[in-house]
């Protein structure tokens, strides 16, 4: 089988399966062979469920042959971040603490993707307990960026981003509390879509911070991300944060273009960007303007306040989620995770409540932006992939995730897609955010940019 099959989009695979031009079993076998060959170095996967995958692929092939097609993702091979439950499979959260934990029941999102007919290749590596930006801190090995194996893939959903980039799966499920879907998407040159808070159920997903956690797709194209979100979204009465809205066809207006779209830009947030990042994002905005979009300037809340409120909330909630193990098994955390979790114990209840009050003010102020614009656009990350082992700052002016956290604090739907490469050949991400529950406009604008560029077609060296 041609290596190019490993890089077909999920939509292309689904269409080819439906026309019976290629076989889900052959594609699954091909990807499993690539995982066996490439993953010992990349470490994208914690558990590969080969037998289950081949069985599901056979079932999909038979169903499709009978004409019982479940949808556009039937037979498509996926990976799931290893803090999301899959019944009967190990679920480690990237930690020694849960190294032998097996899930009793599927997470809501697992159930939905199985109903859509996807084929599960396995569980993907992550930054321990999703509390970090690199995936360089995991009990199951340092995950490497396929574009440069001395760089991190970003995190915390680093295994999912790296696996897509290296052609080891067609879709990945990630979680995003401070950028953990969009950061690996940007650093690995793929697409990550954080939906509106409450759009996708979090039942069966190990929490990091209840006020900020989102579940969403990673993919190689905007269309794939939209299709996958359609399969994942929907109300779940078992998740108290789930909003009572049914899923939608998020790709319904995918090719609608961006004529007349108002692109909101918050230049105060763009301080100290790497020059290549600033140039790529400016060029991306200019390209959308040539398609009829219009740029408008926004007055932004101080990034220092946004980041501070975010940090107080995530630190407090994460420490609460880990209270028992921080007492009983502190030595089983990776050192940097234990240090990050300790921060929560220095904060008071008053700090937490005030951070939540500030969150409400920021959310309200950012919601008003959408009187003047249709989407907010800018860089996903201020610089490209970090070196493995590099220190990660938590200071607002320096933090690698300072441009992604505003959209966790506000809960707004946000996508990252490739918009260029730096002089070292590392991918750069463009971030586009929209109104609450308006994922359809976010993906429409993202697609308008994607179809006018070739960045998403580039492949990492040694992966093709």
């Amino acid at each position: 089988m041609s290596e190019a099959v490993a890089f077909l989009s999920a939509a292309e695979l689904g269409r080819s399966f439906a026309r019976r031009e290629i076989s889900p079993v052959e594609v699954t076998r091909h990807l499993l062979e690539r995982i066996e060959r490439l993953d010992p170095e990349l470490r994208c996967w914690i558990t590969v469920t080969s037998e289950r995958a081949l069985e599901q692929a056979r079932e999909a092939e038979e169903a499709i042959a009978r004409g019982a097609i479940r949808g556009p993702l039937h037979g498509v091979p996926i990976g799931i971040k290893d803090l999301i439950d899959v019944a009967g499979a190990r679920c480690t959260s990237g930690s020694r603490i849960l190294a032998e934990h097996f899930s009793a029941r599927d997470a809501a999102v697992t159930e939905r993707l199985q109903s859509a007919g996807t084929v599960l290749l396995g569980k993907q590596n992550l930054h321990e307990f999703a509390y970090g930006l690199t995936t360089g801190v995991s009990a199951f090995g340092v995950c490497r960026n396929p574009w440069n194996r001395e760089r991190v893939p970003g995190g915390s959903s680093g295994g999912g981003g790296a696996a897509l980039s290296a052609g080891l799966c067609a879709l990945s499920v990630g979680t995003d509390t401070g950028g953990s879907i969009r950061i690996p998407a940007s650093a690995c040159g793929v697409v990550g879509l954080k939906p509106t808070l409450g759009r996708v159920s979090r039942r069966g997903v190990f929490p990091l911070a209840w006020s900020l956690d989102h579940v969403g797709p990673l993919a190689r194209t905007v269309e794939d991300a939209a299709l996958m979100l359609g399969a994942m979204a929907g109300h779940d009465p078992e998740d108290p944060w789930s909003v009572p809205r049914e899923s939608e066809d998020f790709a319904r207006d995918l090719e609608g273009g961006c004529a007349g779209i108002r692109l909101g830009v918050a230049p105060e947030w763009w301080a100290d960007l790497e020059p290549a990042v600033a140039a790529a994002v400016e060029a991306a905005i200019a390209r959308l303007e040539t398609q009829g979009a219009r740029r408008v300037s926004l007055e932004a809340p101080a990034l220092e306040d946004v980041y501070t409120a975010f940090h107080a909330i995530i630190a407090s909630e994460a420490s609460a989620a880990h209270e028992r193990w921080m007492r009983e098994r502190p030595g089983d955390y990776q050192e940097l995770t234990h240090r990050a979790l300790a921060i929560g114990y220095t904060l008071t209840a008053v700090d937490y409540v005030n951070a939540r009050r500030e969150q409400a003010r920021i959310r309200s102020r950012v919601a008003r932006w959408f009187d003047a614009c249709d989407v907010v656009i800018g860089p996903t990350l201020p610089r490209t992939a970090l070196e493995i082992g590099a220190a990660v700052s938590r200071e607002p002016a320096e933090a690698w995730n300072r441009l992604t956290v505003p959209f966790n604090l506000t809960g707004l739907p946000t996508i990252s897609l490739p918009c260029g490469f730096d002089p070292e050949g590392l991918p750069i991400g463009l971030q586009i955010a929209g109104r609450a529950f308006d994922e359809a406009t976010v993906v429409r604008v993202a697609r308008a940019y994607e179809r006018d560029t070739e960045w998403h077609r580039r492949r990492p060296p040694g992966a093709a």
Partner: protein, 52 residues
Amino acid sequence: MGSWLQRGLELAPTLAPLALHLTSLRRRLAAIARRLPPEATPPSERSIDSLG
């Protein structure tokens, strides 16, 4: 209180490398607290839904 103090002592070595950062975080949180008006509340349970 004893338990809280004990936890602080236990975690002190872990937190030592973060001393500068924690000072900065406390300063920034204090600045937010000073500016918050009394009527500012945390987000309501369904506040995200009302934005859609």
